[in-house]
Symmetry: C2
Subunit: 335 residues, 2 copies
Amino acid sequence: MEPKTYAQAGVDVIKAEAFVTRLKRLSKRADHQQLWPAAGGYAAVYPVDERTAMALTTDGVGTKLLLALELKQLSTIGIDLVAMCANDLICVGARPVAFLDYYAVGKLVDEDADQVMQGIVEGCDQAALLLVGGETAEMPDLYKGGHFDMAGFAVGLVSREKLITGERIKKGQQVVGIASSGIHSNGLSLASKLVGTDKRLKEQLLQPTLIYTKPVNEILDKKPQAITGLSHITGGGWRNMLRLSKTAGYRLANPLPVPEIFEHLGRTVEKDEMYKTFNMGMGLTVITDGDDDMIVKTFSEYGFTAKVVGEVTDSRGELVIDGVGALGGAINLKE
Amino acid sequence: MEPKTYAQAGVDVIKAEAFVTRLKRLSKRADHQQLWPAAGGYAAVYPVDERTAMALTTDGVGTKLLLALELKQLSTIGIDLVAMCANDLICVGARPVAFLDYYAVGKLVDEDADQVMQGIVEGCDQAALLLVGGETAEMPDLYKGGHFDMAGFAVGLVSREKLITGERIKKGQQVVGIASSGIHSNGLSLASKLVGTDKRLKEQLLQPTLIYTKPVNEILDKKPQAITGLSHITGGGWRNMLRLSKTAGYRLANPLPVPEIFEHLGRTVEKDEMYKTFNMGMGLTVITDGDDDMIVKTFSEYGFTAKVVGEVTDSRGELVIDGVGALGGAINLKE
């Protein structure tokens, strides 16, 4: 049977969320009062002194790496790994500075490993991150054949002034949408099954995740308060925006065009499920109080497609997309 | 055939080192001049300002997790994960502050995941680390059955004053050895094969890695310059000490007793190979210029077995152990 939802594709988001909730309880949340509160839980913000904090995040690329293995195209999966981490860091206002990778293989195959690392190095260049370390593990009994897994760890620095807490998000502010390159690194378990054996579509799925750090760095350097909220669109799709503020809702009256790949995926999947699983052509949203022109211009100068796609409402927790409807329910897959 | 070396057990250290060398070339070492140089490459030290830096490291537990799965004892493998990272951070003089985990499973089994996380939380308590985040990935097509992998990322803070560079290591200084709890988290691929089906020995192998951070924090708080070198004994065994200084050698005339488990493992493995693969009962060495009494006392107060085991020599790159002989050749598995 062809899967019609993310859960049917073997990824149980509800169960994963329940686990994360139990974990939070276990890890003594009281201690977390020493962290600076930041919007969306995209990164933990640990103070170094009164003015400066480290932003910390970790991520993987999920089953996108199985697709890369299947297509024998390993040179860009490292870009995805860096992207998933770097794009999370900017969501709290941090400037990404350093990256480390964990790379575990069944058997170290020189050509494969070199390709993977080439992608990581390229991703770090794109993100203006310094690759400062990593761990390479050879585990013949855990990973079969040429299989491998990888995790990334990125660190940024953020000043009090630039920290994005979500508290400045208010009704009437503009939502700038930045285009994705395609599916990026979320929803691949479902998407891979949906495209079947179509090699052209599979190659489209493998398109590397865009890295948005440089324009965001520049915007915050120009004007530290220009951004009131930033949402990296990952697992959970556009509902990621609802992570940013406890009071805001969003109305997207003028969304970016939906790329062809999602039309294919949407043939057998409900529209609602599509928007809750995939980025649907928008990899990042930037919320601003009047600096939308500068933000669109800066992203455009770096080669990104960007435009005002909607505005903030006071319909708490509600995301309304013209032509799609209302998507409720916040989602947070991060611990 | 029973493996007699680490390479025969499927772990090709030479190949892994060659890969790391290529990687270093790829990642533009010139950029790394902005890092503070620290002893042994145990952690990357990235400056926040002129006085303070972040220390960053990542590690896994290797095939110890397969043993944990086999014995259905998952509650301590998280301690090993934290230990591998936290013990690396202290080697550059850093105080470990925050930890993140990457946890990838074939299928999220609540009881297993809770046990794994319980170990991570316990490890963070032992290390005085705050668990600030993580990523949980469900990848049914990558990991079979209840299999999983995990990676840890730890961050510390270090002042210029406390930074351990290895440059203060000089002939005649004392080497304090701190006992391990057993095999810790290195050499398990070989050890698991050597113990065969003996359940008692397998359980000994699973003993969690000791976490040495609290006494080291206290020693450096009392006297920031008390330690001239610190070596976490991981893959590569006692030769890890040779990572610390380009001029020093070591003579260990009075080593700690070798625990029973290593006697068993050593029945079919050459002594030289044993000392190059396992910790042989010593999980950490601390080099000091005259503060050996204070260091032994502090570790003892925290319940660790510690004593002066030898001294620094000027036989560059040479490690001589009474009753064993000379072990040459520096090893550095970190990127």
